[in-house]
């Protein structure tokens, strides 16, 4: 069974097949939590991150990525100096990978495959970031604000893609500020506030809690 545990002020567990949404106001520690899990920041002594039965605390990011725990970043996605297709070739480690065409198709990027990412819209760049992770056949996909900066229509398109990836058997954890779509998308929700977890449970249950409203009225 795959599982992630980040322990100290925040204890988080994610089960196989979960679609876990992490919400909370700016500065709540959401991205820091992602960075700690993925090896980009070293957690405090005494912290523990376990993934697929292994202790991965202190592992380098590239080593963690090779265990098929993949992430995206909130400020877009993809390598700007490469085309959409080259970005996927890079991630797949093989220019002729049979996974390229299906992933381009599934993430609705086929039409833009030859376009430099630098010329693509933010929405397309977000999809390229997700596509790079998907082409690596992730077990766990961590998306940092996949909808940030997008308008209504593009948000719906990205939500569809995330749902589609999850339906393909990938466990997903995502950070979002878009509460309405997070509630629709996530099976479980965790609320962080100033580095602490203040709620954790099924989307329907969490959304009715006082903490949920308090965090978001502040945020």
């Amino acid at each position: 069974m795959g599982g992630v545990r980040a322990v100290r002020d925040v204890s988080l567990f994610c089960d196989d097949g979960d679609m876990l949404g992490i919400i909370g106001p700016n500065g709540a520690g959401k991205t820091t939590l992602f960075n700690a899990i993925c090896g980009f920041v070293r957690p405090d002594a005494g912290s523990s991150i376990r993934w697929s039965g292994r202790e991965i605390t202190g592992w380098r990011p590239e080593r963690i990525a090779r265990t098929r725990l993949l992430r995206t970043f909130q400020n877009g996605g993809g390598v700007l100096g490469l085309t959409v297709r080259e970005n996927l070739e890079l991630a797949a480690r093989d220019r002729r990978s049979p996974r390229l065409a299906p992933v381009l198709e599934r993430l609705r990027l086929t039409d833009q495959a030859e376009r430099p990412v630098a010329d693509c819209s933010l929405a397309t760049r977000k999809l390229v970031g997700i596509a790079q992770a998907v082409v690596r056949d992730p077990v766990l996909l961590m998306l940092d604000e996949p909808l940030a900066g997008l308008d209504h229509t593009d948000r719906e398109a990205v939500v569809d893609v995330i749902r589609d990836v999850h339906a393909g058997g990938v466990t997903v954890i995502f950070i979002e500020h878009d509460i309405e779509r997070t509630l629709r998308l996530a099976t479980r929700i965790v609320i962080l506030d100033t580095g602490e977890k203040i709620a954790d449970g099924l989307a329907s249950a969490v959304s009715s809690q006082d903490d949920f409203h308090r965090a978001y009225l502040r945020g």
């Binding site: 980009f40 380098r60 490469l82 480690r93």
Partner: protein, 342 residues
């Protein structure tokens, strides 16, 4: 045709043209042509670091000098056969670069990398100065391969060196192009754009930087093994940091990240002023002003100006086409995501 095949074809064509020039160039210009080939190969190799990875090496000339000194010591002082001396020198330079490169790229990035390569470059100059009995010290030493009587054509030895340097330039350009057009190249571009994204895809940027540093420096060493016997002399002036910074200037003026940019930079800044035999005051003045103007007004170098002209021409053609009918504008695909699945 793949982009790799097309680019390697371009390198082969360049080699062919340069080989013809090597045979045809007037005798009094052979040395200048050889300087072009030497600087061309050195800057193409350096551009693997600067253009493809954003690594400013201030020690490139030191590896060039190390190749020159080591091959001279192996062949002249120790009496090794020439091919063995040259091959061992290149391997030794690559090993040296691996040791320095690993320490540099694992501990430093950006300007710190420039400083640490600067320090190692200076250190190598000091090593040469400290062991005059082997290296000739600050005075340098003469170098001769003693080949004249063995060679088949009635050419000066310099013309043979032209052909060997064409070979070195073609090899350097082919290695650089092949790396850029491979998975290695995609990873270099990713590292240059965003190291965090690269790591998140499972690649260790340090490894690729270290490999590129070893390749670029090893090639510089190879060019050094040819340049020293060509000039017949080797001295610490070959390998100083000012030389390395000059090479950096050449590729910045010419345009980063492409073979043509490096060669244009060498031609414009290093060779043409010598060809025109400008005096010692005018030459650095023109070179300095050219460098400043290009850096100020065209960050992509002279090759970038050519790109801009090409884009303008394409746009004017595209603009004319767009008036032919609706939806044929030069912008291309729409920016909206939704349009891709409507």
């Amino acid at each position: 045709m793949s982009r790799l095949a097309r680019d390697l074809g371009g390198v082969a064509l360049l080699g062919l043209v340069l080989a013809v020039v090597a045979v045809q160039v007037p005798e009094q210009r052979v040395l200048l042509f050889n300087l072009f080939l030497t600087f061309g190969a050195l800057t193409v190799a350096l551009d693997l670091l600067v253009g493809s990875l954003g690594m400013l090496s201030a020690g490139h000339a030191a590896f060039f000098g190390a190749g020159a000194y080591l091959s001279t010591i192996f062949s002249q002082r120790w009496g090794w056969p020439l091919p063995l001396a040259a091959a061992t020198a290149v391997i030794a330079v690559a090993v040296l670069a691996a040791a320095i490169g690993y320490a540099s790229v694992t501990r430093t990035a950006g300007m710190h990398f420039a400083i640490i390569t600067f320090a190692f470059g200076q250190l190598m100059v000091e090593v040469v100065n400290q062991f005059p009995e082997i290296t000739g010290g600050s005075e340098g030493q003469s170098v001769s391969w003693g080949l004249d009587e063995d060679l088949p054509f009635d050419w000066s030895i310099y013309r043979y060196f032209s052909l060997w340097l064409v070979g070195a330039l073609v090899l350097t350009a082919a290695v650089v192009v092949a790396l850029r057009r491979s998975q290695f190249g995609l990873r270099m571009q990713s590292i240059k754009d965003d190291e965090a994204v690269t790591k998140a895809l499972g690649f260790n940027p340090r490894w690729y930087k270290a490999v590129a540093f070893v390749v670029a420096s090893g090639l510089a060493g190879l060019i050094g093994t040819l340049y020293a016997p060509m000039t017949g002399f080797v001295s610490p002036q070959f390998m100083g940091v000012d030389q390395s910074v000059f090479f950096l200037g050449l590729i910045i003026v010419g345009g980063l990240g492409r073979v043509s940019g490096a060669l244009i930079g060498v031609l414009l800044v290093a060779i043409i002023p010598l060809y025109l035999e400008l005096d010692a005051v005018t030459r650095p003045l023109i070179v300095g002003v050219t460098m400043a103007l290009v850096v100020l007004f065209e960050p992509n170098g002279v090759a970038g100006i050519a790109d801009r002209i090409r884009r303008l021409a394409a746009r004017s053609i595209g603009g004319r086409r767009s008036s032919d009918g609706p939806g044929a504008g030069p912008v291309g695909e729409p920016d909206r995501l939704v349009s891709t699945h409507e």
